[in-house]
Amino acid sequence: MSGPGVAAEAATPAARGAAGSVAAILRARELSLVAALVVLIGVTTAVNGNFLSAQGVTDILLNTSILLLLAVGQSAVVITRNIDLSVGSVVGLVAFAVGDFYAAGGGLVPGLLLGVAVGAGCGLVNGLLVSFLRVPALVVTLGTLYVIQGVDHYIAHGRQINAVDLPPSLLHLGNGAVLGVPYLPLIAVLVMFAFGHYLRSYPSGREFYAIGSSPEAARLAGVPVRRRVLTAYLISGSLAGVGGLLWLARFGTVIADSANGWELTVVSAVVVGGVAITGGVGSVYGAALGALLLTTIGGALVVLRVNPFWEQAITGALLLLAISVDRVLALRVARLLRRRNVRHGS
């Protein structure tokens, strides 16, 4: 055995070491995100003290909330080795359709239900096409992205929803706060913990990881693969529906292409947050941190008076960086494990 100093002689310590190093890498991802956030906030605040003012923090939290919700849903899908590019357009459709519903005098609760139902419906279509008809996820959701966007524009027809058309309680939800904490981030964080807990601690939640890790092994283990993939899309679609409602609540004024192009930001947040695009690895907490980081960068660019057009380029670059780092680390771990693998007489 020619491994470096860490190489161990007996099987068990070697195994421990391997387990330790992998866990360390996972932790390192969340830690490095936190570190990046701290540095970013530190530098920005040093340049402009207003960044950390109560208003500044509230802004970032508000801006993160919807992205975070979408990132949670996207995580569920990506963990099963799939992707949902249609979420941005679902947000837009739900925001406008429900706004339209209220403008026509619809009740608060029916409107909320409508929004979630539309989102879930979109998720259902994606999920059925991907899981039962085995159409590649990328193609399906790229297609539904444009179909949903088209439907959104068709309904809107150049019109605009105004805040005066909306129920006051909805607008309060979007801009009010409890004990100084705005509702939006509260809702997002609640959803995050609920799904984080589900994915980590419930058998069916773990099956999402099993499917993403090895679909074939999952099938042999009797995991209902299609049903879980469908569920992942339903989650993603429903949360996008909720995202659309919150969008409406927060901004009040809505035109057809709200959240246009957000699918890229969502996927970036998830991947930057450590959910492997090849499935099976990651957590919604990481994805949430990814969403927070991307939003904070956007806010910092404004405060630092950097050309705001950099934001999209940075999002893309971060995504590339994240997948590249993941890959390089994975290759290194694989090599480390390989070195330890040669067994010496048992």
């Binding site: 992998v22 601690s201 058998p203 990881y209 099993a210 007489g345």
Partner: protein
């Protein structure tokens, strides 16, 4: 054990048939598994054993016949249904989730729960540790499955099957990658299960294991059940005759060897963590076999020699010219050919036609100007199809419609058409019928007779002993023995392969 004692089989197949396209994998096969009995399933590669296992596991649904559980007909419409019926299967190839911990791998779908229906991680860990202790395995339940050696993966699979507490345990070559100690422990566990009244179906290529562990044996040949009988009273020769259907002599052509100069020279080849310090030579006109347990690093050496994987140290020389690392193209130009282990993934492009598969290794030689000459492509394919007596309808047919044996002939044709001076064949007869197997053996002999240096990797011990002029044995990534034909016996090769040699 007599039939009267165990009145009714727990699980039985009655007249089961299963076809895949043109390939009839099982024909009217019956099998009865009794509680308290270890039942061996014998047969050569490609006899239909794995199909039978997958039928029991609910992966395949039979085209005809029925499955009886406690005498009642049942339909397994998926792996979950078979598991619910109490059938646990250890597949030949481990099917683990690389990203999940070993404990999660074992309990996926049936995790111990707490009151709130959440996963009880502590209990899961403890139960995994207990299983490992029973098997004498030193693995950490919390470690991810990624990076486990094949033997360790197989042990996790065994633990998984045991954890199901199943009434029927099906084991498809569980010992192929295991060392002597691990096999002994596994057999102890199987004995204990048998005493508890469980039924065991056991598949192994090592006849000794069948005689040691099992009470009854069913033999398959080309998808047909040849015999079902008690093991007691049978000899090795009886069993082999049932499996092969003819005398062994007919299977392995005798030949005169006159080894020429060294064609392939491998010096101190090392790929970290995979194999270490491997040196050997193969001469023109000889067949050298590379033997060892699954996971010993044999295929990996072949891959590195051919340039599929990069080697970290050492040197490969073909006909005196040194090969660059990691370039199959350079290896081919130097006269090397590799018939890979996995025909369907590595050997053939399944969606392509016979002629295009054969042409794939000679795209530049088929060129007329900038474009490929279809006439030249067809001529190349026709020539080799005839020489190898390929059975086909049209050369334009996809290779997917051919039987396993004929697919292997296409792979051979594809490589022989490059006119190699060194031919590496990895498991050349895995998954093909007896008739074609004999043809492949004859062909390899002829090739050696024509002065080609042949390096044959095989897990089939009779094949190694019947074909090789020299046997090179690997154990855990090292070349541990080189045994000349005269001294090569089942015992001497197995001893070196399991590390018992001096």
């Amino acid at each position: 054990m007599s039939e009267a004692e165990a009145s009714r089989p727990i699980l039985a197949l009655k007249g089961v048939s299963k076809s895949f396209g043109a390939v009839r994998a099982l024909r009217d096969v019956s099998l009865e598994l009794f509680g308290g009995e270890a039942h061996a399933l014998a047969g050569e590669n490609g006899a239909g054993k794995s199909t039978l296992v997958k039928t029991l596991a609910g992966v395949h649904r039979p085209d005809g016949g029925e499955i009886l559980l406690d005498g009642e007909p049942v339909v397994f419409d998926g792996p979950a249904a078979a598991q619910a019926a109490g059938v646990a299967v250890i597949y030949q190839e481990p099917t683990l989730f690389p990203d999940l911990s070993v404990a999660e791998n074992i309990f996926m779908g049936r995790q111990p729960r707490t009151g709130l229906r959440r996963i009880d991680r502590k209990a899961m860990r403890a139960r995994t540790a207990a299983l490992f202790q029973r098997l004498g395995v030193g693995l950490d339940p919390g470690q991810p499955a990624r990076g486990l050696s094949i033997a360790d993966q197989q042990l996790v699979e065994i633990a998984k099957a045991l954890s199901r507490d199943a009434r029927v345990l099906v084991m498809d070559e569980p010992t192929a990658a295991l060392s002597g100690n691990e096999v002994a422990r596994l057999f102890g566990v199987v004995e204990a299960l048998r005493e508890q009244g469980r039924a065991v179906l056991f598949i192994s290529h090592r006849l000794d294991e069948i005689f040691e562990l099992c009470q009854r044996v069913t033999t398959l040949r080309d998808g047909v059940r040849i015999a079902g009988e008690p093991v007691a009273g049978l000899t090795h020769e009886d069993l082999i005759r049932r499996m092969v259907g003819r005398d062994l002599g007919a299977l392995y052509p005798g030949r005169q060897t006159a080894p020429g100069e060294v064609a392939l020279k491998v010096e101190r080849l090392t790929r970290e963590g995979v194999f270490t310090d491997v040196s050997f030579e193969v001469r023109r006109g000889e067949i050298a076999a590379l033997a060892g347990l699954v996971g010993a690093g044999r295929s990996e050496v072949a891959r590195a020699v051919f340039g599929i994987d990069r080697f970290d140290a050492g040197k490969v020389t073909v006909n005196g010219a040194r090969l660059p690392a990691a370039s199959p193209t350079a290896a081919m130009a130097a006269g090397l050919a590799l018939v890979p282990e996995d025909r369907r993934q590595q050997g053939l492009v399944m969606e392509m036609s016979i002629e295009r598969n054969i042409g794939l290794t000679g795209l530049s030689s088929l060129r007329r100007g900038p474009v490929i000459s279809r006439a030249a492509e067809r001529a190349r394919a026709t020539d080799w199809a005839l020489r190898l007596q390929l059975k086909f309808a049209r050369l334009g047919d996809g290779v997917g419609v051919l039987s396993g044996g004929n697919q292997q002939k296409v792979v051979l044709a594809k490589w022989l058409a490059t006119n190699p001076s060194v031919l590496i064949v990895d498991e050349p007869t895995r998954g093909i019928d007896v008739g074609t197997k004999a043809e492949v053996h004859r062909l390899l002999s002829e090739l050696a007779g024509q002065g080609i240096a042949v390096l044959m990797i095989s897990s089939d011990l009779p094949e190694v002993l019947g074909m090789a002029d020299r046997v090179l044995v690997m154990h855990e990534g090292r070349l541990t023995a080189e045994i000349p034909r005269a001294a090569a016996t089942e015992e001497s090769v197995m001893a070196a392969a399991t590390g018992r040699a001096a």
